[in-house]
Symmetry: C3
């Protein structure tokens, strides 16, 4: 199997959840040795990003600055009141891909994969598709 669906329960309005271990497990379970791994978020008020996973202050700074650039309230037209979350979703992107080499993700030393919640708390889903050769 090369397609996996995972679940995340977010706990805050805006929160980045480290999902690196779930993605790594899917790569291992796929048996793919040489290829790519796609992480896909099927939501419109969430995103995926790859950034520093060592110092949690980095994620804190990203969230704070982005909330300053795209304010939660700014005379948006959309009635649900979560337009800022939709805008952030498009700017961060809902999909990313990482090469797989010798059965491992080619993540850099400081990189972790984050599920970005912009309209939580919610029960969320993400997909992992691995493509390539098992030898």
């Amino acid at each position: 199997m090369t397609f996996f669906t995972h679940h995340v329960n977010t706990r805050k309005q805006t929160e980045f959840v480290n999902i690196t271990s779930e993605v790594k497990k899917s790569v291992a379970d796929s048996g793919i040795k040489e290829g790519i791994c796609v992480v896909y978020i099927p939501h419109t008020t969430a995103a995926v990003t790859i950034n520093e996973a060592a110092d949690p202050d980095v994620v804190t700074d990203i969230i704070k600055e982005v909330n300053k650039i795209i304010p939660l309230n700014d005379n948006y037209k959309h009635m649900e009141g979560n337009s800022a979350a939709h805008i952030k979703s498009s700017l961060f992107g809902i999909s990313t891909q990482i090469p797989v080499k010798n059965g491992n993700l080619t993540l850099g030393t400081w990189q972790g994969i984050f599920f970005c919640e912009f309209d939580g708390a919610r029960h969320r889903t993400f997909h992992v598709r691995i493509l390539g050769n098992s030898e």
Copy 2:
């Protein structure tokens, strides 16, 4: 065939055109059942994004807020006068990918695929590449 080129005629300076049905048709025509679908924009003042396709106010809010963050005129150096469009193109991104499962895109309930015009109206092109297995 697993590579398709589509055309869009945009009608405004900034406009998001829903291209979900064209992408879905390419996936069906490819015969690929398990894999990924890449949407690629060969332009430098346009982009592709996946966001809510149900309420058109979401796209209206995205366009309005992004025009506020990246003003159309801001003492840009580039003589053609469309630097804001180039900046938006890089922030939204000119390429995205969606897993294909059982022959279908794994789009979420509210997700649609949009061609983002930032320097229209123009005659535009986008490519769809599907990769994977037909069984």
Copy 3:
């Protein structure tokens, strides 16, 4: 071989380095004729983007405007002082993909691939993975 690692020596704090020729060479060396090419940056204060490579003023405008939107100093918490670079990395993205057709990237007329340095000068790395068929 369908996986390649390249190196870039950046010379400024913020700088976009055109890496199109390195990526094209990897595609040629892979022998893949129909597929996709993934460019991946294993850093958290850099990114990759595809934008106009003809007029250097475009890149100048992108860098200037983005530095205005995300200031280098803004009471960030992260002690290393490079939070702005991390934020830009997430907004531009550390990975992109381009279809390969007849052995060539389907880049548009004006498109070039840029390594985006946001915390230089440094010795940097990027990966290229090509996936598809050699016939």
